[in-house]
């Protein structure tokens, strides 16, 4: 229970006093090897970071596993000594994928919980509501769990960093695949929006690749609103695409809405080729939604067979991949109730990147040293299929994806090599020639 105001004030004073004592103690021992409370949220033994996540609400199916999975990785790191002797405390709050809640919950994390940094805050419309605030407070805003291009804006948002390939990069590669494989089919779009950066950035990327290639494109995308009411309107939107004779539906949608779209199409006896953004295509998540009866009745998981998507992490079902083995074993110990799916892999991989950054920020990290560590990182040894793009002017994370297709049993099969590009309209798409990295033996990034 929350203490009355007077006591919380006293506690605050005590906390400040305590911090001062610790700081003085740290300055007293000039050896430079001891831990100090070097920043808000950092003590000699802990680092507290925060996040806002859709634990309930329309984006919760699948996405609600991401933060618990990341936390499982942090527990694993904490159990093996933490980072520079500090244990990571990860506080993630439910915002229900509602930008208004994101705004209030983020204030709680910054003003009350005094987090050192924000980590993997999820969602484009949601996180856009707080990105100015976090930057005005100089809180490192690391690895937003969204592929919006907007996180890559080092001049306006110097403390914000993306992580996954942004939707335009992803859209360009998806578009190239469509040009190469469906040149004579009519292309249509199913997008979150309108006026949502998620749908808009993806559309822009796909159109960059389709432009001037002579493909037939349905000029009016079908849009959905990510709310319960919006889910009911999806059927009509899909029927509209069917009426236009669309044969390939490019979908930038969260999982629940991908499932509703594919189920609606099947219900209309309409069988277009679905090409879905990575964020909305995780087979275990989709099959759980379909078979679990979330759409009003239990539907067969096989509905999503043949869906084309992409990945920037090792393929989930590649059981011999060392990253998959590592994350699966950590999950088994620290989060046994979670399924093994793309969300869990995502959460752990992002947590791995955070630990890389925290190690690089020095023994006594500050908010500035954390941001500088990411900007000067040039790490190549992460779980991703491509290196990170991070620099002082580029706050994008991964720069490329590999096309995949979903089999009848939900397994993913890769289609072709890893392709990298940038988010400019004319930036060339280049096949990645580097080799995949392997995790360190203890599963924790080395210094």
């Amino acid at each position: 229970m929350r203490p009355p105001f007077g006591r919380s004030r006293t506690l605050a004073i005590a906390a400040v006093g305590g911090t001062a004592v610790l700081l003085t103690a740290a300055c007293g021992s000039s050896s430079g090897t001891s831990n100090s409370a070097s920043a808000p949220g950092v003590t000699a033994t802990t680092v507290t970071i925060g996040s806002t996540q859709p634990l309930t609400g329309p984006a919760a199916p699948g996405y609600s596993e991401i933060a618990p999975a990341a936390n499982a990785y942090f527990k694993y790191v904490n159990a093996h000594g933490g980072v520079n002797g500090r244990k990571i405390t990860y506080t993630y709050l439910d915002d229900q994928y509602n930008p208004t809640s994101t705004a209030t919950q983020t204030r709680k994390l910054v003003l009350q919980d005094h987090v050192f940094a924000m980590f993997q805050a999820l969602g484009t419309p949601t996180h856009l509501s707080v990105v100015s605030y976090l930057n005005s407070e100089h809180v490192p805003d690391l690895f937003v769990a969204s592929g919006c291009n907007c996180w890559n804006n080092a001049s306006q948002y110097p403390d914000t960093f993306g992580w996954q390939p942004n939707y335009t990069i992803e859209g360009k590669v998806l578009g190239q695949y469509i040009v190469q494989n469906f040149p004579s089919k009519k292309i249509g779009f199913f997008l979150q929006g309108p006026n949502d950066e998620f749908g808009a950035d993806g559309l822009a990327g796909v159109m960059d690749s389709l432009q001037g290639k002579g493909l037939s494109v349905d000029s009016t995308p079908a849009y959905y609103t990510p709310t319960a009411a919006g889910a009911m309107a999806v059927g009509a939107a899909i029927a509209g695409l069917q009426a236009q004779g669309v044969q390939v539906i490019v979908s930038f949608s969260v999982p629940l809405f991908t499932a509703v779209a594919e189920a609606s199409a099947a219900g209309l006896n309409y069988h277009p080729q679905f090409v879905v953004s990575n964020v909305g295509s995780d087979p275990p998540t989709l099959s759980a939604i379909l078979t679990g009866g979330a759409l009003g009745k239990k539907l067969p998981a096989g509905l999503i067979a043949g869906t084309i998507s992409d990945t920037y992490l090792p393929v989930l079902t590649a059981s011999s991949n060392p990253w998959v083995t590592l994350f699966q074993s950590i999950k088994a110990t620290y989060a046994p109730s979670l399924p093994w799916d793309g969300n869990v892999e995502y959460g752990m991989a992002e947590a791995y990147t955070f630990v890389q950054a925290l190690k690089a920020a020095g023994q006594n990290p500050t908010r500035a040293s954390m941001v500088a560590a990411v900007e000067s990182s040039r790490w190549t040894d992460g779980p991703g299929l491509t290196p990170y793009a991070y620099s002082s002017s580029d706050h994008n994370g991964y720069t490329g994806v590999q096309m995949v297709t979903v089999g009848a049993d939900g397994t993913l099969t890769t289609l072709g090599p890893v392709e990298t590009t940038d988010d400019t309209p004319t930036g060339a798409i280049v096949t990645y020639s580097g080799t995949a990295s392997t995790p360190p033996t203890n599963g924790i990034p080395s210094d």
């Binding site: 929350r2 439910d94 419309p125 856009l128 509501s129 006026n195």
Partner: protein, 354 residues
């Protein structure tokens, strides 16, 4: 002095609210930390809107399930104007929102004056459900689901660079709340307030007394909507993003919850109710996360506790918290009185529940 206070409501209220303002100024400046100021701002915003709803529902007897939608009109008035002209002063935005929402309230009120009971509730419910869809359809003006961002008001330079923006917004919002409650407290004790109550209690009697029932109901709607507009404008500054997701049916129901649980028809009840509605989720959220439950359960525990607390509160205090406090005070007084003047005065009759 005492007789002066007793005779002139305006003076009595003026002194009370001035004292309240001083207390709030001291609390926000010296006692509260930034996060408390941030939450107190939310309570004040809620209280302004709930007070308007109290006038409409508690005092005039018209149910509104659409007050969240009226707040939305206020918030969007401020946000759209600020998107066009970012430098417009806050006071002007507050006034613009009061006016625009007041006009909207007049329109709803004119329709509402023809409706009674569940039909009025249904009509206002439709407003609460339909209005949040508008920004998606006119995305170029209203920013779609993503919404419009609003910069929080920056504290004036003379307060110093370390002055927290949360404290500044708390000052502004609490000042707005104190003024609103001062105006409403006088209104409900005026002839207009008595007309409001008479229309609520017996429309036929009101008509026989020469009261224009429809006009009175529309006026109550305008007053109520103006409060919602002011609250909406402040809400935009508080959240810093105005999107349809902020004005769900939940908001309208929470406002109704606040006035019912606080005490229907009582302005102090609106404040108590707002405090409960804002702080209960904060407390239950903290409680749920301390239980170490599996995430599927823990995520939903705050909602469950919230529901249970509301049910219990209504069972224990059928006249709301303010009504409960009043009957306890009344009971204590009666006990004290019967000790001193045993058998002299008959016990005061219990006020009927509304």
């Amino acid at each position: 002095m005492n007789s002066l206070l007793r005779r002139f409501t305006f003076v009595r209220h003026g002194l009370f609210f001035l004292g309240l303002a001083v207390v709030l100024l001291i609390l926000t400046s010296f006692v509260f930390d930034s996060y408390t100021n941030y939450n107190v701002t939310e309570v004040a915003i809620f209280a302004i809107s709930a007070a308007g709803l109290t006038v409409l529902t508690g005092i005039n007897g018209q149910v509104s399930l659409g007050h969240g939608a009226l707040m939305m009109i206020g918030a969007y008035t401020t946000s759209v104007l600020l998107t066009w002209h970012p430098d417009l002063p806050l006071v002007l935005m507050l006034i613009a929102s009061i006016v625009s929402t007041g006009i909207a309230g007049a329109i709803v009120g004119i329709a509402g004056a023809r409706l009674r009971g569940p039909y009025l509730a249904g009509a206002t419910l439709a407003l609460a459900v339909a209005l949040p869809q508008v920004p998606s359809h006119f995305a170029s003006v209203f920013g779609g689901n993503q919404g419009l961002s609003v910069s929080p008001p920056t504290p004036p330079a003379f307060l110093g660079t370390s002055f927290a923006p949360e404290q500044w917004l708390a000052w502004i919002t609490l000042a707005a709340a104190v003024i609103t409650f001062f105006v409403l407290a006088n209104l409900v004790r005026s002839a207009t307030g008595r007309r409001f109550r008479m229309v609520r209690d017996n429309e036929v009697a009101a008509r026989l007394s020469g009261i224009d029932v429809a006009r009175t109901q529309v006026l109550a709607f305008v007053v109520s909507a103006a409060c919602a507009g002011l609250a909406g404008s402040l809400f935009a500054y508080w959240v810093t993003v105005t999107s349809p997701s902020g004005f769900t049916l939940n908001l309208s129901l929470s406002l109704l919850t606040a006035i019912v649980i606080g005490g229907l028809g009582s302005l102090s009840g609106a404040v108590l109710g707002s405090f409960i509605v804002v702080y209960l989720p904060v407390w239950t959220g903290g409680f749920a996360s301390s239980l170490n439950l599996s995430s599927n359960i823990a995520n939903n525990v705050p909602l469950a506790i919230y529901g249970v607390v509301l049910i219990v509160a209504i069972l224990v205090f059928p006249r709301g918290v303010a009504g409960g406090v009043a009957s306890i005070v009344h009971g204590v007084r009666r006990a004290a009185g019967s000790n001193r003047r045993a058998g002299v005065l008959p016990a005061a009759p219990q006020a009927p529940a509304q």
